[in-house]
């Protein structure tokens, strides 16, 4: 991986981090409401995977999906406006933080039922295969979703039908407040995927370069027609599950220990040490990102509300609601 790419990887992580920090602030100011799930600590995963995702590829993610949406190309302004509940939001204010969508960018949500996006990703892959389209589907979900039956049903069929889907399991060790060891007899998610004859790799989810490399391997494998690939990213969220979580289930020492592996700090230090990047370049990244995010917030703030008279639009397609696939 050349120097420029590694710098780019760092920059994408910084973009996610800054957006999430701003979201937390805006939540405190009550600009953003509802549930808000932050990705801080897990940025290497989205950055590493999304670096391989092309325009024509499809992505389905979870309710912790701001970063994935941003890296799929949805402008920060449309994401922020969505969280503000505004008309210019990427879901016209009807989805909020957990339901970011973009037809243009083939971003299919933002599904807030744990495991809900998994069969849909398999279905998107089935459509691509059946229609002979050069398209991969990337499906993000947490280790908590692997406890759902629908993961197993979907994994089996993806493998049986050799479908072009990359399963990206973001194992952050807690399903809300329930630790993996306390809820699963088999704590290796990769082992569960292998049980369905799916090739799987364990990835250091705190290391952007490992995330990038192994995602690349997975993409190559899927593109070769070998069927689905499963990546288990071992990662950690630094923040509570949502803004309502008092974090009774884990100690500060544990969180601090993981923070020492901050994917941004470690990659930055490494690139600086190796001379792949200068402090000035990093400062420039930060300045660019600050401008991007502040203008996104200003855009969101200025965006109008959808008139309440339009409340019942978009229940059924085909009348006045635009899009049909």
């Amino acid at each position: 991986m050349d120097k420029a790419w590694r710098g780019f990887l760092l920059k994408t992580m910084l973009r996610i981090r800054r957006m999430e920090e701003l979201c937390a602030e805006l939540y405190t100011q009550e600009k953003i409401r509802g549930f808000l799930h932050l990705y801080i600590g897990e940025e290497a995963v989205a950055s590493g995977v999304m670096a391989h995702v092309r325009r024509q590829d499809s992505v389905i993610a979870t309710y912790r999906e701001h970063g994935h949406a941003l890296l799929k190309g949805i402008p920060a302004s449309a994401i922020m406006a969505e969280m503000f509940g505004r008309l210019d939001g990427c879901s016209r204010g009807r989805g909020g933080s957990m339901h970011l969508f973009s037809r243009e960018h083939r971003f299919f949500g933002g599904n807030a039922i744990v495991g809900g996006g998994i069969p849909q990703a398999v279905g998107l892959a089935l459509a691509a295969k059946q229609l002979g389209e050069d398209r991969l589907t990337f499906c993000f979900f947490g280790e908590g979703a692997v406890a759902e039956g629908v993961f197993h049903e979907s994994a089996n069929l993806a493998a049986l039908w050799r479908l072009p889907v990359v399963f990206c399991c973001e194992n952050n060790r807690y399903a809300m407040g329930t630790a993996l060891e306390r809820s699963e007899s088999q704590t290796s998610m990769a082992a569960k995927a292998r049980a369905y004859a799916i090739d799987a790799l364990e990835v250091d989810g705190m290391d952007g370069l490992d995330c990038y490399d192994k995602s690349g391997h997975a993409v190559e494998s899927v593109r070769s027609g070998a069927g689905p690939f499963f990546l288990e990213f071992n990662t950690y969220r630094f923040r509570p599950h949502s803004m309502f979580d008092p974090e009774l289930y884990r100690g500060k020492a544990e969180v601090d220990a993981w923070k020492k592996h901050c994917p941004i700090a470690t990659l930055k230090a490494r690139l600086l040490t190796e001379g792949a990047l200068t402090e000035a370049q990093v400062a420039q990244y930060a300045a660019d990102i600050e401008q991007e995010m502040q203008s996104a917030v200003a855009f969101a703030q200025a965006s109008p509300w959808e008139p309440a008279a339009d409340l019942e639009r978009f229940v059924y397609a085909g009348r006045d609601s635009g899009g049909s696939a």
């Binding site: 499809s58 809900g116 229609l131």
Partner: protein
């Protein structure tokens, strides 16, 4: 030409597959077995395993896959063996198929058809005899079709597939062998509105699906007794054809709703409420309902018969209302 309800369903699938390469059928035992109710018999040989796709027993998984395939540009027909098993797929139907269009601000839609067998009457007891179509009709974002005639079995599917929204088609198990005349073309066919199956003046019998033939039978009996009643077939439970219901009630001034679902919190309750809201002053008598008795379906034949409205029950209730 006469054909059975089952043959009509098969012809509809066959025609849809022929017309549109994007259409495929997916579900348990739809292929090699020929369909649990032999609806898709012969189609595997004709279209191959990619378009007549057998699945494992994974209702939630393959229903979700149907949603994804629809989002990805295909036109899936997902077959769930019976409405009872559709409860295993409820999350994908209610939390995704029904809401994706709205939740995405109108960007995505789910052109998915889910077919399933519904209803009791075959001594299959409590886990295989549900009639939950009225339940599904509660959900905004879904459309619900309930073919009660061979013609509807033949032509509703095509319009369901043309619709850009998720459509649930409830095929009644007791109707599969019924044989009726059926027009050879779909010209003028409209799946989405109620139809008067027998005009009358004294009372509106409002029914759909499996209750339709016995309601018509009851109407014939009543006619023999000099009581001219109307039979309105709802056909589409969501959106509900208010105009047709209200027009019929305004004409006859009396309404009896015959519904195979349970009474409490049901579609029959909804229809009753709409009549009261919109046509209260046109009524000459309180609206009445004949529904499934409020028990899980028993196995024994005489108990099952007692649990589901029969033609004789309809006749008796109608006479009571017209006394």
């Amino acid at each position: 030409m006469k054909r059975t309800y089952r043959e009509a369903l098969r012809e509809a699938i066959d025609e849809a597959m022929q017309k549109d390469e994007r259409v495929f059928l997916m579900g348990e035992d739809v292929g090699a077995y020929g369909g649990t109710y032999a609806v898709s018999k012969g189609l595997l040989a004709k279209y191959g395993p990619e378009r007549i796709r057998d699945t494992p027993l994974s209702e939630l998984g393959f229903t979700g896959i149907g949603i994804g395939a629809a989002l990805g540009g295909l036109r899936p027909i997902v077959e769930i063996m019976t409405v009872n098993f559709s409860l295993l797929a409820l999350d994908q139907i209610v939390n995704s198929a029904a809401v994706l269009h709205h939740m995405s601000g109108g960007q995505f839609n789910v052109p998915l058809v889910i077919r399933m067998t519904t209803g009791g009457g075959r001594q299959l007891a409590a886990q295989h005899s549900n009639a939950l179509e009225g339940w599904y009709a509660h959900i905004p974002g879904l459309k619900i079709l309930t073919p009660g005639t061979v013609e509807d079995a033949r032509y509703m599917l095509a319009q369901a597939l043309e619709d850009p929204n998720p459509v649930l088609l409830f095929e009644h198990a007791m109707l599969l062998n019924s044989e009726q005349d059926c027009p050879e073309t779909a010209e003028g066919f409209d799946a989405w509105h109620a139809r008067i199956r027998k005009p009358g003046t004294r009372l509106s019998l409002i029914a759909y699906g499996g209750m339709l033939p016995r309601t018509l039978e009851a109407a014939e009996t009543l006619k023999g007794d000099g009581l001219d009643v109307e039979v309105l077939d709802l056909r589409c439970l969501r959106p509900l054809d208010d105009a047709a219901i209200i027009a019929s009630v305004r004409k006859t001034h009396r309404a009896l709703i015959v519904d195979e679902g349970w009474k409490s919190g049901s579609l029959s309750a909804e229809i009753c409420a709409r009549i009261v809201e919109q046509a209260f002053y046109d009524l000459d008598a309180p609206v009445q309902r004949l529904c499934r008795r409020e028990v899980p379906m028993p196995y024994a034949k005489h108990l099952e018969d007692a649990a589901i409205p029969q033609a004789a029950d309809i006749v008796a209730k109608a006479k009571e209302m017209l006394r």
